[in-house]
């Protein structure tokens, strides 16, 4: 199967410091791929390089067969690679509905003049967007909090809103930076279940960064292990569990 994402020999240097060194892997549709590694291993830098927030100093990144390295973050997003942020990327002063609407931005087809003059087609486009955003929130049982400012929501609800916002345009590839951080154990399981369903039923390719090893082992199809910016192992959860190098470098026991 043609990979969804091809990362080949990607390196990132921060003023002489090697944050990523020659990282290579493929990601596929319908697959949950976990990126693990100790703090400072370069996990978030990898996400930043794929999504265009950090320029890579070497290597190529192909999405659906076309190069995306060197593109601006918004262009990569439009192509269908969408991401979430470790510290939460929500617009806190806006309501859940407005956050989702911002996620649908490129799908709401209204022109500048149409908006300013309040023309019919612009208002129709806006209404369709609102209806779609409300449907998406209802689907995730978030309908009741649609008009609540996001800053007033619980941590779990905020995570869900961010996921819904990222998914709003049905992107083929999703990069989730610690999607369960700060969630209670039952919420974590629920989130992992949703992530599994997105990959299994919707065929979305998912790459996620996660620290909780149990979740990674039970929830992912493939694991990529980063250490000091290098991929030191890649394989199924079972293979990673057997890997001596990983155990020493990351899990801290041999």
């Amino acid at each position: 199967m043609e990979p969804l994402l091809k990362v080949q020999g990607v390196s990132v240097n921060f003023s002489g410091l090697k944050a990523l060194a020659n990282v290579t892997f493929d990601a596929h549709a319908g697959e949950v791929r976990a990126v693990i590694g100790p703090n400072g291993a370069g996990k978030t830098t990898l996400f930043n390089a794929i999504s265009g927030y950090v320029p890579s100093t070497a290597g190529t990144i192909y999405f659906k067969g076309t190069p995306i390295h060197g593109l601006a973050p918004h262009d990569i997003s439009i192509k269908g690679v969408r991401r979430t942020f470790q510290n939460g990327g929500l617009f806190l002063e806006l309501t859940a509905l407005e956050n989702i609407l911002a996620g649908l931005h490129v799908h709401i087809d209204s022109s500048f003049m149409g908006v300013v003059l309040g023309l019919r087609e612009a208002r129709e486009a806006e209404r369709e967007g609102i209806a779609r955003a409300r449907r998406l929130l209802d689907l995730m049982d978030l309908g009741a909090i649609a008009d609540t400012p996001v800053k007033d929501l619980s941590g779990g609800q905020q995570r869900m809103v961010e996921i819904v916002r990222t998914l709003a345009t049905e992107p083929p590839l999703l990069l989730l930076d610690e999607p369960v951080v700060g969630l209670s154990p039952p919420m974590r399981d629920r989130m992992m279940e949703i992530i599994r369903r997105l990959a299994g039923e919707e065929g979305i390719g998912i790459i996620l960064i996660e620290h909780i090893i149990d979740l990674v082992m039970s929830g992912s199809d493939v694991i990529v292990v980063l250490s000091s910016g290098e991929v030191i192992a890649e394989g199924t959860p079972d293979e990673i569990r057997q890997n001596r190098e990983v155990l020493e470098a990351y899990l801290g026991h041999a």
Binding site: P73, H74, S77, F91, L92, E98, A102, V106, V115, E126
Partner: protein, 326 residues
Amino acid sequence: MNETKIPSTPSMTKWRRVYYLIPVVALVIPFFANEYLLWVVNAILVYTLVTVGFNLILGNLGQLAFANTAFFGIGAYTTAILMVYFDVPYFLAIVVSTVVGGIAGFLASVTALRGIRLYYLAIITLAFGELMRWVYLHGDKVTDGSDGLLLPKASFFWIPLDSEAPKFYVFLLLTVIVVKATSNLMRSKIGRAIVAIRDNESATASLGIHTARYIVLAFVWSGSVVGIAGAMFAVLTERVLPEAFGLTEVIIHFGMVLVGGTGSIVGSVLGAIALTALPEYFRQFPGMDELFFGIVIVLILLFLPKGLISLLHRISPVFQERYYRD
């Protein structure tokens, strides 16, 4: 069945249409107000647009750019120069002031786009304002320097603007159009993108939103709105003076945004009303007026840190600023 039928959730935003009553009721003001009071009302209309434009940058885009007072001066001098030296009709002068204000806004956006933000953006834009004031003072062959540029009598198409009442109707029309257009803009994908940039610029880009484009758009729109305000101000005062665009004015315009409520168009109107009317009211206490004015601003911000608009929020959530329209 109609597939695209909109869910029949009660639309709270529709209640905001009560705002349309305000300009309608205002139509009768000239029948009750004397010339002086009407002058104050006209000044409120001018400062409403100044505050709406400033608030878009400060409250919605969340950038500490203080160039709006300079845009205001640029708009006023553009209209004055066109009318004094080129006999340009007032309507056309307003159009040119709008365009020139927009160009000034575009230039200001370049600093923000180059990553100059926060205090650095604040000091650069303040310096730009002072630079413009220097130009007005020393370009005295054109601007008449500190004496100010005296305008000829203006007329708006066939309406002679020789007293406050006709000015009021023209200014009210302009203000309603600009405020409504700005409100339409803010309650759309464009307004959401601008506020999203304020809340989290990286995350905004991750949604496919070309952030630089919206930063430029916000500055250009803001500059144009304030350019129109400048064109109105020139005809209101009939003499354009450099002092009208100095640092004290920057502080007052900043105060209007904060007293009204950042990020709120209705707040902008309230802030403009409060900080235009109060100094006029305090004039009856000569020597103490500035003290009273300062005290009132401090008190408002102490007890209503989110501005006068928060009083409306307490009445009903309907008046919360929303960035969509259904």
